[in-house]
């Protein structure tokens, strides 16, 4: 411990000050998620619920959850939730939105869920121009089973069932899903971002909000792929995970807005 003087942080300051941001998301119970230390998924979830609150759609929202570590949020998120099976959220979301067109419908799925088990579901929903928003939390592994290779795992990435690193000859190449989806005519807004730095977190929030706005404007299918840290699945220290994400995942799954029909008027 240094000799430096510690500033009290257990109560608001006594000096005149304003609260800049209370980052406790309104719609998430604080301290009740048991995801690993350093996991990026809660940061992505915060962006989503902040956008829901800011857009004023809390009482119209139905979140359709896939199966993965993030499924824990189906429990402590204060919006209505429909729990789907692994990979199946897009078809359930389709049924919800077609039956209740005024509902605001989004899915939360991991890369294993969406790109492995459920690849046809998300592609079909996008092609149909289904007026829902699909969010993919991409950490390049099946986190919940302990860190196994998915269809988005990058070449060289070590996982529990590719211990020597993914190689193209045995395992083939990763699927860059946002790029695939952007090619479909039914897709209105397609973007990819990450939560490994504060700057990227702010961009993630912008993209998620823009995707939600595309749904609210009835423009078609919207999709945001959010790269998240998984130090457990990557065999790295929590503090190293943001850099690992940048060096490995983000180098292949490149960030940016890949399609945005709302801009062409």
């Amino acid at each position: 411990m240094t000799e430096r003087h510690v500033v009290p942080t257990d109560r608001p300051p006594s000096e005149p000050a304003r609260l800049v941001r209370d980052f406790t998301p309104q719609l998430i119970d604080v301290g009740t998620h048991h995801l690993c230390p350093g996991c990026g998924e809660p940061v992505a979830m915060r962006a989503a619920v902040e956008a829901i609150t800011e857009l004023g759609v809390t009482q119209r929202t139905i979140g359709v959850f896939g199966i993965g570590c993030y499924t824990a949020f189906s429990n402590n998120l204060d919006v209505e939730v429909l729990q789907a099976l692994h990979g199946r959220a897009p078809s359930l979301a389709t049924g919800v939105k077609r039956a209740k067109p005024d509902a605001f419908v989004f899915t939360v799925q991991g890369d294993g869920d969406m790109v492995n088990e459920g690849l046809q579901e998300v592609i079909h929903a996008a092609a149909r121009g289904e007026n829902v928003t699909c969010l993919m939390l991409n950490n390049g592994v099946f986190g919940e089973t302990g860190g196994h290779m998915t269809a988005t795992t990058v070449i060289g990435q070590r996982t529990k069932n590719s211990l020597d690193g993914r190689n193209a000859e045995d395992h083939g190449h990763p699927i860059l899903l946002a790029n695939l989806i952007a090619q479909l005519d039914g897709a209105a807004y397609v973007a990819r971002c990450a939560v490994n730095t504060a700057h990227n977190v702010a961009l993630t929030k912008q993209m998620v909000k823009a995707a939600f706005e595309a749904q609210l404007a009835g423009r078609g299918f919207s999709f945001v792929e959010i790269l998240t840290m998984c130090p457990t699945g990557w065999f790295v220290e929590t503090a190293e995970a943001p850099e690992y994400l940048g060096d490995n995942l983000a180098a292949v799954h490149k960030a940016g807005v890949l399609k945005d029909v709302t801009r062409s008027v």
Binding site: M1, T2, R4, H5, V6, V7, T9, D10, R11, P12, P13, E15, P16, A17, R18, L19, V20, R21, D22, F23, T24, P25, I28, V30, G31, H33, L35, C36, P37, G38, C39, G40, E41, P42, V43, R46, V195, T197, A198, V201, A202, P231, E237, T238, A239, P242
Partner: protein, 82 residues
């Protein structure tokens, strides 16, 4: 005034929500967050403490996966002991 650090903001930290991931430490631009070494919270994790010099930039709160931070900006900069 010599020997003090001009401080623009401060944070309130929900220590018991912290899971000791260290992300805020590296993310803080003025480097004013430090993890405890021996002290742990109710869940058994080390947690960050704040030193003088916070700018109220919100970056710690942006990156924290456990939503531990509330960020304040002082109406007037405050001089704190280093």
């Amino acid at each position: 005034m010599s020997g003090t650090v001009k401080t623009l903001g401060t944070v309130v930290i929900d220590v018991d929500a912290c899971k000791g991931c260290d992300l805020c430490i590296d993310a803080c631009p003025p480097g004013v967050l430090e993890m405890t070494t021996h002290e742990v919270n109710a869940r058994g994790y080390r947690f960050p403490v704040l030193l003088a010099g916070c700018t109220g930039c919100q970056i710690c709160a942006q990156v924290c996966p456990d939503f531990c931070f509330q960020v304040y900006k002082f109406d007037e900069p405050v001089e704190l002991a280093p």
